[in-house]
């Protein structure tokens, strides 16, 4: 597959403070995003995620490095036409209504009036704002602004969608809807570059991820390669068994009312417990094998640094 976004050896530093002190933000970042994938860009606060995105979009000038979008220079208008961007904490012209704002954005893409109006209507429906289209943006909540932001990012049907912390400010339902939209974009053949620190969401939707710490990409690759499928332990909630009989079979146990929560490390012990429950006519309420999560890897890497 062709690289949609290629970043090579990106460096950026800022002068901070009254007596300027140089702070290196990006220290030679390289990665490439393939066509049609959802690429997760992870990192703790201040790692340089937003700065990388701003370099890609031309809001910040990198000191060194090369950025290509669809093989084009990232600042060329042809490249920009193919990108849709949702900023972190989006701010828009609050005196405009949602539909006026989207129409204004459409003018910057030189969209035909009729096509533009149809697309605006379609997008407002997609992000669930069809009833708020004539409301001034200053009256919008943060979550609603995030939805308008997503609509403007998708306005030109971009081939590459860059989302910077898109899930912040959304309620659980909104997050689910956004995840569905991201998956739909992938289905439509679009490439999504997603920066976030909400790891569960990244894990749910991303094909590949890069982990950024202190301005350096520490680890990158396919999600299934980074996260091993080996079971670390199994959590079992059961009832109807005397806790004395479970001694030595589980690593730790806690009881609440009739129910007992067990953490079982070996498969052998798990089988013994299941046999015991079966013979004593007890009841298993839940059995959850815990594999390594992206969060475990992320925490481990950040701690090492």
């Amino acid at each position: 597959m062709a690289a949609v976004l290629k970043v090579e050896d990106l460096h950026k530093s800022f002068k901070l403070g009254f007596i300027p002190k140089i702070k290196k933000i990006l220290k030679g970042i390289s990665f490439s995003v393939e066509e049609g994938e959802i690429y997760g860009y992870l990192g703790p606060n201040g790692a340089g995620k937003t700065t990388t995105i701003k370099c890609i979009l031309g809001l910040v000038h990198p000191e060194r490095g090369k950025i290509e979008v669809f093989g084009l220079h990232h600042l060329s208008l042809q490249a920009k036409e193919k990108i849709g961007y949702l900023p972190e904490n989006p701010y828009f012209y609050d005196y405009l209504t949602a539909s006026e704002f989207l129409n204004f954005c459409g003018q910057l893409f030189l969209m035909e009036k009729k096509k533009k109006e149809e697309r605006v209507k379609e997008l407002l429906q997609l992000v669930g704002l069809e009833n708020a289209s004539d409301l001034q943006l200053r009256k919008f909540s943060r979550g609603m602004l995030q939805r308008v932001g997503l609509a403007q990012a998708l306005l030109s049907s971009p081939s590459l969608v860059i989302l910077d912390e898109p899930l912040g400010g959304l309620d659980p339902l909104g997050r689910k809807e956004l995840r569905d939209i991201i998956l739909r974009l992938k289905k439509e053949g679009r490439t999504v570059f997603l920066s976030s620190h909400i790891l569960q969401d990244i894990e749910m939707v991303c094909d590949r991820v890069a982990i950024l710490v202190n301005g350096e990409v520490i680890s990158q690759g396919a999600l299934h390669q980074l996260v091993s499928e080996k079971i670390h332990f199994t959590e079992v909630i059961l009832s109807g068994i005397d806790t004395e009989e479970l001694k030595g079979l589980a690593e730790s146990s806690s009881a609440k009312g009739e129910r007992t929560l067990l953490k079982i490390l070996s498969e052998e012990n798990l089988e013994k417990i299941l046999e015991l429950v079966h013979s004593k006519k007890g009841k298993i309420h839940s059995l959850v094998p815990r594999t390594e999560t992206l969060e475990d890897i992320f925490v481990e890497i950040v701690k090492q640094r």
Binding site: H61, L108, F109
Partner: protein, 254 residues
């Protein structure tokens, strides 16, 4: 097209600004007050109305250009609306020119509004429409275009308060630069004179746009002077806008 869209959006934003209406109100009060002032004057009463009226148009127009202009780019950066805009398929110069022409359009509308009040007050006094006054107003507009470009330049790298001070200084220096001419004549040849001459060529001369006296006194103005003032306005504005573009092109939007 893209510049037009940004200009129209800037216009929509600017006409919602209360400062604009406050200044418009004060300008209207001054123009109307000139009629009362004329009643207290011995001599040519219409001249007083014309003098005060044109001075009001120039001063309040310049204040509008400065106070609105200094926030043009700064507000976009401060509110981070620029992040959404500059990632669209537009060049930075298109954004900056869009902002500039948006404010110029706003100033044109405001100047037209003030001019209507001004001409109406004169009409109420003389029962004549004095169209030649439009010449002076046209050159006030050229001056406002230049002042707006200066405010925009400062807005690209400075805070609104500092930008206001710089732009106001530009306006004042521009109107008093003729003092340097007198100084050059009086100073003996040497380093002082050379420095004064250098400064004289560097500082703007906004008096090039001042045709108030000629129009009020109905003096003939040679077309050569019109042409010179127009070209001076165009070249100076283009020069300042180019500087603004160079500054804006290099900026990082963190």
């Amino acid at each position: 097209m893209k510049i037009g869209a940004i200009a129209l959006n800037t216009f929509k934003e600017a006409i919602r600004d209360r400062i604009l209406y406050l200044l418009f109100f004060f300008a209207a009060v001054c123009i109307i007050f000139s009629r009362i002032l004329a009643l207290l004057t011995v001599g040519d009463r219409v001249k007083i109305i014309k003098d005060v009226g044109l001075a009001s148009l120039s001063l309040f127009g310049a204040l509008m250009a400065i106070l609105m202009g200094v926030g043009l780019v700064f507000k976009e950066i401060d509110k981070r609306t620029i992040h959404t805009l500059l990632v669209k398929p537009i060049h930075r110069y298109q954004f900056l020119l869009g902002k500039y022409f948006g404010l110029v359009l706003t100033l044109l509308v405001m100047l037209l509004g003030m001019s209507i009040i001004f001409l109406a007050v004169i009409f109420a006094h003389t029962f004549k429409l004095e169209w030649q006054l439009l010449v002076a107003i046209l050159f006030i507009f050229f001056e406002l275009c230049l002042v707006t470009s200066v405010a925009l330049l400062f807005s690209c790298f400075s805070t609104p308060i500092l930008s206001s001070l710089f732009s106001l200084s530009f306006y004042l220096i521009g109107h008093f630069s003729w003092g340097l001419e007198t100084l050059i004549k009086k100073v003996k040849p040497g380093l002082g004179k050379t420095l004064a001459q250098l400064l004289y060529h560097f500082v703007p001369d906004l008096e090039n746009f001042n045709f108030k006296m000629e129009v009020v006194q109905k003096l003939p103005i040679p077309p050569k002077i019109f042409l010179f003032s127009t070209l001076y306005g165009i070249f100076y504005t283009v020069f300042v806008l180019t500087l603004a573009l160079l500054v804006f092109r290099k900026r990082d939007f963190i």
